[in-house]
Amino acid sequence: MAQAIDEFITVGDEIADSAAPSGPIEKRWDERKFSAKLVNPANRRKINVIIVGTGLAGAAAAATMGEAGYNVKTFCYQDSPRRAHSIAAQGGINAAKNYRNDGDSVYRLFYDTVKGGDFRSRESNSYRLAQVSVNIIDQCVAQGVPFAREYGGLLDNRSFGGVQVSRTFYARGQTGQQLLIGAYQALERQIAAGTVEMNTRHEMLDLIVVPDSDGTERARGIIVRDMVSGEIETHTADVVVLATGGYGNVYFLSTNAMGSNVTATWRAHRKGAYFGNPCYTQIHPTCIPVSGEYQSKLTLMSESLRNDGRIWVPKAQGDDRHPTDIPEDERDYYLERIYPSFGNLVPRDIASRAAKYQCDDGKGVGPGGLGVYLDFADAIARMGRKTVEAKYGNLFDMYARITGEDPYSQPMRIYPAVHYVMGGLWVDYDLQSNIKGLFVGGEANFSDQGANRLGASALMQGLADGYFVLPSTLPDYLASHHLEPVTEDHPRVVEARKAVEERVEKLLSINGSRTVDSIHKELGHIMWEYCGMERSEEGLVKAIGLIRDLKNEFWTNVKVTGVNEELNQTLERANRVADFIELGELMCIDALNRAESCGGHFRSESQTEDGEALRHDDEFAYVAAWEYGDDDKKVLHKEPLTYEYIEMKARSYK
Amino acid sequence: MSTTQLKRVPASRSTVAKKYAMAVSGLIMVGYLVLHMYGNLKALQSPEAFNDYAHHLRTIGEPILPHTGLLWIVRVVLLAAVLIHAYCAISLWRRNKKAAGFTGGLGAKRYHSKQNRTGIQRSYASFTMRWGGVTIALFIVFHILNLTTNDIHPGGASDEPYEKLHNSFQYFWVLLSYTVAMIAVGFHLWHGFWSALQTLGQNRSSTRIESNANTAAIVIAAVITIGFLVPPFSIYFFGLGG
């Protein structure tokens, strides 16, 4: 074990969250806000803020900073900020409003978040998230977000993700869309007011880091490519915010958007920013299975389906009879059998892994044997087709459209898919990375969710960071340092720009025999196989080797057609895949280092006799913050986690 | 990046404002058509009733108004409505053709696909609004020369309104031209009346087909077309009043 690790890892100094306030947890955020320095309103116009990514976190932060009077520049790769992948979130957004009077509170949401994160998140951050959640709802309602309402005209709530209280606000199955449109409209308002300059179809390709007069390295700008003209542009600023989302597409197939990528955060990592907990991956159990090698992405169906659907596989291996021909006593309702008290409602990671085991055992159904049945026959018999239709009609329609099968007359097939990543750039309590002046918000940072995320908490975190946290912490940084302007001919700027140009040239000149997608798919297969739902030391070591070979294959044999000076989607993808390959390697190394099972990371060596996840709090109660190091060895910085308020316990769903 | 941004004009001169003008002028003309049709149907009663009605139109409002005073007021209002309607139509037509991305002058294409050229649900009437409108305009000129000024007088000129009517509709080509024109009016109203109601904010349905405004338009188009065609057909085929 130690041998394998030594080959890939150097252990560096421990790090600490130096911005974290102490004192009673419920006062920490207020104290931090009070101690923060402020920028005189008259000076704000002269301060330049760059925000990359315009999903929930980015758009909300840009709008809020624009309202405050800063000079903001935003960038997104889509043709409009309204298309960011935040839009695809279905379920809802949590907030500790306690409108239902069912015992919810900020403290309970905090508790659920820390427990849900399997004791691998910071208490301070999780508490702040719960605290700010109530303001988010107020803000969104004032903006005109059409949340579901009760007949009395007040906001409706539902229970979501297996928690005991109803604290989830929703807008039918399109909550992400409605929240994003709210933030988008606030952003467009600031664009019209001239406080924000929006750059669509612009992709960040590097971070500019420049030492200040004291020699402290600070993020001072970015290099971007105009995706229409191909022009490589330099943008400098006083502070840079990355809100560029998650990197689930490292698996090629995921529920992320086609364009979701790691490039912005990875380029920052290459420039010195630490990457936190890259191996924590949330795999969602109820996705529509892969139907063929041509598949480009996976589609999630709300896990509310597990409330009434029953999950099963045939008892016999390789049973290829039509599901309705398989008699009751030849079916294995495995979740109900193994987890009698929670049954089909066990948490996401357990349901996902259980499905994988069944399929590994040769009992999977559908193309490639990668699927299990989710059966509504009993529900239809019990509640009637009408009720089922009213409750799940839109999901059934979606399933029918994608698969061409009728879920009312035969069971649906489902399989787990990568859905969300808890890892991301390491940040402190202020959401500032170890590179000064580089802030990271939303899914792009690692901070609040720990090793696993509760349902309906991603939207909450994105908006908390964007509307409330960043607009409070950025001014403190900006007021604390007077920075000289950086000009385009600064050696560091020239150097960064030249590196980007050379990389683009290199990609276009290889002219090998493999398409970008074929390499991306291969990377995805490796990641899914060895760094997916279940990871082992042996598999991870193998994967690292495979990825290193693939990296070599990419840089010698990829084929990128066309030129830089035009809209070139192949070039865009090639550039992203190059970074995914390096990230994949780091994910495997992080997974190899973390020889325990926690949340979205399951190591086969670390399980109980019953096959449940086994944490090792004595050894691994820390954040793994990775420094790039060199091509062979990554440097691990540990940030110890301590729990003052919530006692560390093992989960049990038996 | 190239954009097609034009100069911003006040909303009071926007495409929507022009549509209000078209809707209001159109509705004025529809109102006139209903009254006109009512008068025409007098021909079915008797030649005298028709002539009396025509004569009465010239004396309404006397002595406050001079002889034919109201008629001239109506004519002026109608002419204004026609001009406004036509001006807005031509202005929007030119704009819309460009907006739809037609390029390359005569024979320009928007979509090259030869499939689904007739759209998804659009009514035949909606295709005929523009050329139908031109047809109707030309017809109105003919109609005034024929039955108002009687410069065109197949079957003999006359000063008696009914006789003008009766003489003209002995001829199949006259009947045919009126029939074509009335069908054009029918189509124009089918889409136009619905469109006016929607433009003036009176549609509350999610699709055109489901809307009461569309039903109302079909009814009014049918009533006006049939109402106008009954007298000429009666004269031609049954020699009414001969």
Binding site: R83, Q143, P146, E188, K297 | Q121, T199
Partner: protein, 248 residues
């Protein structure tokens, strides 16, 4: 199955485009329409040719990135987005024409990619409620009748894909504009800016070069989210009110 596709190829905004025919001998009916284009592009790339540029992102029918005119109909034969269309909606041997959205407000960037920046600028002209972060009152202080909230939601589901413009024989963006007017106009929070919103957005709509609405109704039928036609009637009503109140 085998299909033939005629695809609009245009190198850049200034170049002249043309339809180009490609043969696909080995596609499956379970493929989505865009996956079929992916397959075409893999073939083209390996042959050293420039792949067909098209926009797509979430491929779940919600982001509004994708959208091409298929056989003359935006998003093709089913009422859904292009990404949710599957080849099982076609037959073996079919010839499929694929073209970009056509409207002077949506200039072609390359092949099937168009510039829909005009939609953002229409929103900038008033498609928002002016509330600064942090100044919002307690959410439940302002009850909204469920019916209004539901209608507002229905209008708010617009994904900004632009199919309405592509379907409209006049290249009008009234359905898009009116959906936002309706969403915000139905909510109590949206009332203070109701007049200025409709004036600003209609002016911007026209300034972008979109055509006028002639109430044909193709937009609603092509809309993958079924934005209802009465939203346009509502916009007309609101503008009339704003003009009558002398707000212009």
């Amino acid at each position: 199955m085998k299909i033939t596709v005629n695809v609009w190829r245009q190198k850049n905004a200034d170049a002249k485009g043309a339809m180009v025919t490609y043969q696909l001998d080995d596609v499956l009916e379970d493929m989505s329409f865009l996956e079929m284009l992916d397959v075409l592009n893999e073939t083209l790339t390996l042959a050293g040719e420039d792949p067909v540029a098209f926009d797509s992102d979430c491929r779940e029918g919600i982001c509004g990135s994708c959208g091409v005119v298929i056989n003359g109909i935006p998003h093709g034969p089913e009422v859904t987005t292009t990404c949710q269309l599957h080849l099982r909606s076609f037959k073996d041997g079919d010839v499929i024409d694929i073209e970009p959205w056509r409207a002077s407000g949506f200039p072609v960037v390359k092949d099937l990619v168009v510039d829909r920046g005009a939609f953002d600028r229409i929103i900038q002209a008033g498609g928002y409620i002016s509330v600064n972060t942090g100044s919002a009152p307690e959410a439940n202080n302002l009850p909204v009748p469920k019916e209004d909230a539901d209608h507002a939601f229905e209008a708010a589901t617009c994904i900004g894909c632009g199919a309405c413009v592509a379907a409209c024989p006049n290249g009008s963006a009234m359905l898009f504009t009116a959906a936002k007017i309706t969403h915000l106009g139905l909510l109590p929070q949206g009332q203070p800016e109701r007049d200025s919103r409709v004036l600003g957005m209609v002016e911007q709509h026209d300034a972008e070069g979109f055509g006028g609405c002639t109430n044909i109704g193709e937009c609603t039928t092509a809309c993958p989210k079924g934005i209802p036609l009465d939203v346009i009637s509502r916009l007309n009503r609101d503008l009339l009110g704003a003009l009558a109140a002398g707000k212009a």
